[in-house]
Symmetry: C2
Subunit: 499 residues, 2 copies
């Protein structure tokens, strides 16, 4: 509604007395319309006048009622009316002249149009590219068989709370302040020791960068190491989070097939600038990368001056013997940035992961981190460091490994007993999910039937870049499920009928 009142030239007292009721009426109407708005009474009065001016209902030079009259008209206190006028004068809407009254000070060439705050989607090219990836999806549901989340019911929350309280007691508000963008030093030291001992990673705390997530590590790597059009070798099928990070940096992705010994690059492939690998336990097929291939890929990286990204995303959870030591530890030339997340080993909302880079890259990554989002929360870093140092981390991992192994075994047994007519489980030496192949061309139909039976069965199709290589299958997350929940879900899936 736009009401135009133009009293600009009227100064005679007689007229002012005569028209005051009209002005009062208008302001009162606008004020009453704002009745449902939020904020204090003073704010409502301010907003009423602001909007009347912006909408052109009140024009530059127009005289407003005295604060006493305004108070009476709007039935607010004189103090409120006075405060509103003072505020609006400070903001530049009104001008108050001693002994002459209060005037509209703002000149609007044309009234403001009505609000259209939906806005328009005007994205940069890079922005459009990122949106086109569809984004990354974290597993949202703990239901069978949404992709692998840790079993949070088994997390030692009590110990965690104790260490949190202890850290706040001993370090206090220091932990609330800004932190080292590279990461809290005691955590970096604990991490360097841990991966040295358990994964053969060759590093010191100066090479460790603490980040919020492996996704952030991938994003920083993509930004700092990849130029538009650079070739990136990706496992096919492979981890879509990595794919999206490299796409967002403008990389040219080259899918490389995976066989039972891991990545198998053909000789004719164009030289990569970077190769993304999940060597301990290929995502999603579960295959470990063989020693020969590791050595060949490292040799290739050295020869082509390219990077190998080792995403060691679930190496804590290997069930049949030790996982092979890291590729980073085999590398002799500093070509292997190494990523681990705490999301699986501890809990996803911790928002901690780490990236270990060759010494030459540390300063660049740390600077980029500050331009991206500063640093990680200090308290959670301190608690995590203590959790590791006091031995809880190692014992939690041991416990969870046993728990998950028993669940994997149970799932495999259930599949054998109930789904052998259509499901072929893949190597499952570790991890929180199990890949199973389905009969060719059946993924869509079987997923539809599973959904009807109330079971979520994430498809393998989403992990493929190219439709030609696509293999029908499911990726069943089992780690957060009790044996009872597993049985129930598999029995449901057993009702699926092949066409």
């Amino acid at each position: 509604m736009t009401i135009v009142l133009d009293f600009g030239l009227i100064v005679d007292t007689y007229f002012i007395v005569a028209i005051r009721p009209i002005m009062s009426q208008v302001l009162l109407t606008l004020f009453q319309q704002s009745g449902n708005a939020k904020g204090t009474l003073r704010e409502r009065v301010c907003n009423t006048l602001r909007n009347a001016i912006l909408d052109g209902a009140l024009k530059e030079g127009q005289k407003l009622p005295s604060s006493r009259v305004l108070a009476a008209d709007l039935q607010v206190s004189r103090i409120t009316a006075e405060a509103a006028y003072a505020q609006l004068e400070a903001e530049g809407y009104l001008q108050r002249m001693m002994g002459r009254g209060t005037y509209v000070a703002l000149q609007m060439n044309k009234p403001m149009p009505a609000r259209k705050t939906t806005g328009q989607l005007r994205l940069s090219q890079r922005g459009s590219m990122i949106v086109k990836t569809g984004g990354c999806r974290d597993p949202e549901s703990p239901l069978p068989f949404a992709a692998g989340t840790p079993d949070l019911r088994a997390f030692p929350l009590k110990v965690w709370k104790q260490i949190t309280a202890q850290q706040l007691r001993t370090q206090g508000e220091k932990l609330l302040g800004y932190g080292d963008p590279q990461g809290y030093l005691p955590l970096r030291e604990a991490v360097a020791r841990y991966v040295g001992q358990t994964r053969g990673v060759n590093c010191d705390a100066q090479q460790v960068i603490v980040l919020t997530s492996s996704q952030q590590a991938l994003q920083l790597i993509a930004t700092l190491l990849i130029d538009n059009g650079d070739n990136v070798w990706m496992e096919e099928p492979g981890y879509s989070g990595a794919r999206n990070a490299f796409i967002s940096a403008g990389a040219s992705l080259i899918p490389v097939s995976v066989d039972k010994c891991g990545l198998l690059p053909e000789r004719t492939l164009p030289v990569p600038r970077l190769t993304y690998l999940t060597p301990s336990h290929q995502y999603p097929t579960g295959v470990p990368l063989s020693l020969e291939r590791r050595l060949a890929l490292l040799e290739m990286a050295h020869r082509t001056r390219s990077w190998i990204i080792e995403d060691d995303y679930d190496s804590e959870f290997h069930y049949d013997g030790q996982p092979m030591p890291s590729m980073q530890g085999l590398d002799r030339h500093g070509n292997v940035p190494y990523i681990v997340t705490f999301s699986k080993a501890l809990f996803p909302s911790l928002r901690l992961a780490y990236l270990i880079v060759p010494a030459a890259l540390v300063a660049a990554f740390t600077k980029a981190r500050t331009v991206y989002d500063g640093h990680c929360a200090q308290l959670t870093q301190a608690v995590t460091a203590e959790f590791i140092l006091q031995g809880y981390f190692a014992s939690h991992i041991r416990y969870m490994r046993q728990l998950y192994r028993s669940r994997r075994d149970w799932l495999l047994l259930q599949i054998e007993q109930n789904l052998s007519h259509f499901a072929t489980p893949q190597p499952a030496g570790g991890g929180l999910q199990l890949a199973i192949w389905l009969p060719v061309g059946q993924e869509k139909e079987l997923t539809r039937q599973a959904q009807k039976l109330g079971v979520i069965t994430p498809g393998l199709a989403a992990q493929y870049q190219t439709a030609t290589a696509l293999r029908d299958g499911w990726l069943l997350g089992f780690s957060a499920l009790t044996p009872g929940e597993i049985t129930q879900a598999v029995v449901q899936l057993g009702k699926i009928r092949l066409t």
Copy 2:
């Protein structure tokens, strides 16, 4: 050290008996050299053999001692030796043939070179650009007068802990899991209500995106809305964190001067794709942007289909009356993404901030967030939401505003009494720091003297993009300092001698 032993052809028992001591001696030497290494005894045995093979000391086809002999040689248990052989066979280093013994299985064309893990700095163009910005620096020190940090000693940590315990009790492990990438809904609702009431922001919870920091908001904005070479208007002097984010997106930065009414663009400036503003309290000069200029800039943004970024970084802390309502609330076309951080109002290591965008942009920003780093910690979001809902946020802000106001007043008084011979304080209606001008050409020398006197005086020079516009000055952070600390530091500065 590389020791080459070539026994490949020797199979005769006599010779094996004869040379066994040599092999044993070599392995024992290598094993003893690993004495300081980390890890279990089994891991040390594994590493000794791995390295001997990788370094070429043991070659493909070579026979190794039996596990019994190995155990005796290295003085480890038979179980350890056996486990090491089994592990190395699984990894592909060894092959064990029933009744015939254990052989090196890995073919190394040439021995691995010695470790050079420093690596090389091979950055992408974008990476080099980001590194060249020098990164962003958070205020590290609570010492006078490092740039404005909140006074963490005054944070109601007890209440915070209570709410944390309460949230964990009522919501439990749900808060440990993956979260909504757009942000925890109760926090988005609380934020939308709060900024609607206090800042006149026109939004609902669906437009709020919870991020880790205003820096992350700037980075996402730069990535999604800016293409290489796009013009970005920046306040001069202005916030270097924003400048770095836009540089990292390849923007062409156009410095726009700031006078006592805020940003003053000349008519000849090229049309921007985006304008970055701190309208409530220009960073670092402290000037609020006048109403006329706000309206003119909004009109310009509408006409040129460009964005205005409103960084409302310290609007909670205005000391002389209310700050002007947000520009976002004045905008009628959905051109104003709006940023607020919790780092100043609560504490920096919380790692929470929010970005309010026009509805059309929400999906794009949320997707990009997932590709960047997923989501924010759920527990801290839930605690912050409760802190707001239970009224603690508003009362904390009120209390801190009074505290900071009294400190600002004290600082101004101290400057007047001690530093009037060289320091000219700028408008300080709000914020956690005070800009003061210094005599032309003196910033460097005066800063040097201040440093000698033990006082940190962040220079204004760093806030300028172009050296020509540069104005000598300091930006004194006072918010975390007690009156005693302020007095002491200013008295020190009073000893400075002008040349």
